[in-house]
Structure formats: C-alpha cells, structure tokens
Symmetry: C2
Subunit: 200 residues, 2 copies
Amino acid sequence: MYSGAQLSLYPMSDDYVGIILESLHALDPYRSQCRIETDDLSTLVVGPPEQLFPAMRDLFLGAAATGCHCVLSATVSRGCPGEPDDAICTPRTVPRPQSLETRIAGAIRAVAKAERTGRPVAAQFSLYPLGPDDYMDEIYGCIAFLKDSGVYGIAKNFCTKLRGDAGPVFAALNESFLSFGPLDGHVALDLTVSANSPTG
Amino acid sequence: MYSGAQLSLYPMSDDYVGIILESLHALDPYRSQCRIETDDLSTLVVGPPEQLFPAMRDLFLGAAATGCHCVLSATVSRGCPGEPDDAICTPRTVPRPQSLETRIAGAIRAVAKAERTGRPVAAQFSLYPLGPDDYMDEIYGCIAFLKDSGVYGIAKNFCTKLRGDAGPVFAALNESFLSFGPLDGHVALDLTVSANSPTG
C-alpha cells in the first residue's frame, strides 16, 4: 500500500515565496508520521491515508490566514500498483468491507463531527477509482454522500464543487477519498481549494 | 462523447486579476469551436478533444509572457459516461484502433513536429484511463512514449514531470490524452504547468 499527495500552494501575491515558506511550517506536526519532499512544482507528502487531508487543511489554513487569495491544488492517491509498498503508509484504522449505503451514512456522520475553523473555502474535486468496471457506482455513491454532507455546492462538468467552513469541507474530501472506491484498490483524487477569492 | 477541461490560472502576483483577465483573451480564437464558461474556481472549456491542449497552451503563454511566476492547473476529461453527448465535442479526426507500439511511435512523431514557442515550462501530470482492468498497461505505454518525447523530466510519485519548450510540452500532453486509454472510453488527466518559477 502506498498513499500520498503531490500538493501545491498558490498565493496570488507578490510575496508568494514568503507565504509558501511560512505556511509549510504547518506541516511540521506531520513530519514524524509522513515523508515530505518539495521541488519546484509541488510538495510530496507520503503517509497514512487518514493524515493527508488534515495535513493539507492545516497547510492551507496557514496560507489563507494571511488574507491573500490562495489556492491549494493536489493530486492525492492510494493503492497505486505502480508504487512500492511502504510501511509509513499503513492505515491507522483498517477499514472493513461495507455496503455503499453504510459508507455514505458513515461519511455523513464524520463530516457532521468535523471541527469548524472559521475559514470559508470553495473547493472542487474529481474522484477516480481505477480498475473496476463499476467505478461509476462508487462515484455516484460519493456524490450522494456529498449532497447530504452539508458542504455540497453544485455539480460541475468533470468535478463536484463544495463550499463551507474549511473543517467540514476537508472532512468531506477525506471521506470521499477513504470511503469510496475499492477498499485496497487504486483511487486518485484531483483537488482544488480556494480562499479569499474576490469573486467567491 | 463529451470532452473538455476545467482549467485555472494562478499568477503569483498582486495583479493576478488583471493578468488572468488579459490572458483569457488568448481563448478568443477557440470560442467559435468551444463552449467556455468561468466561475470563481475555474474556466470550463468544452469542445473537440484536439482543441483542449492548444487552447490551454495559448492561455498559459499569455500569462507567462508577463514574466510573472504563473501556474496553469487543469482537470481534462474525455468520454465520461456521466456527461451527455455533445456535438461540439466531435473529434476532428476519428482515431483508428492501433497497437500500443504504433501509438507510441505516432505520439513521438507528433511532438517532434510541434512548433516551438521560446517559453520554457515545467509540467507534471497524471493520466487516468477509467474502467478497463488493464489500465496500467496504457499508463506504462504513455510513460514509454514520454521517455522518448524529448521533454521527459523525471518520474515522480503519482505523476510524470516534463520540462522544455511549451510547444513540445503541450504537444506531449495532447498526445498523452488522445493516444492512451480506451479509444472511445473515459480518460481523465490531471495537469500542472509552471513558468517563471524562481526555483525552476
């Protein structure tokens, strides 16, 4: 099992270097549980699948707190057969096989319990369960969950838009990633989160 | 058949609104062939699959010409069974079934013929052929093409990095999207392109 994210932070500011470097400190609490490497395009975070969205949330909240319009973009993946098994990616909780209905209900409960942050965000994402020929059933199940998650925005072509407090929005992303698609299979998620947009 | 992209432009500048609005004029030549709509998170371009990467290239070159560090991020899709058929998405050239080897050779030739722009860029992307259980063969075929494309950078976790002139780089992305994955099937591509990076 291998899980992680290639994430990038885009502060729309002349001081983008300063904002990025300052925001990266928000990842420090995750460094003991994750491998984190940065190049000119993105920061790689490899670790337990449950840690990826909390890490991205904290990174993004750091940048958004500057008041600057900023965007987090990420490619998130679990179970890719082209990646090596890595002990650092061991899930904290081994999920049990459950019906789609049970998973939808569990995901809704998890978002309802998410801590609020006071930071409104807009997000859009696409979920890609790779391999099984019934992958659209998992995608439709995820959309059904999102519609009852409290942070559903609108359906867009190729993606679903969320809006609301960053706490439940990142919780909804986390649930989408963990609870839909094959349990031990390959699932990718393509994410955009925005804060402080002048057109938001 | 439905094909299009949700694309976003991120100029790392206090003048990001002006740069985005000015750059969007680069899409004007595509408006007669594509449906183009913008919201607070992205611009949707729906049209023939062969037009998507040329449109993104021209948009990105407009923003990069300002000298500002800027990033284009996009979710590109063709053949999603959840989207309606749309005549505007009719491919200009209907592809014929060909072996992986033939497609690799054709893609290499197409990139070699790409017009150069004088603008160096770095890019990374992930290709997701959805549905078939041999999807990794298509991904490995695409990587084999990229390694001989002249713009291959490095393999990264979850994605492949390209570098070089924007002309051949966008041509390589176009070939990856059109030539790999099921001919009439569902293929998604998750893209990041960067120019003028201080760490590039």
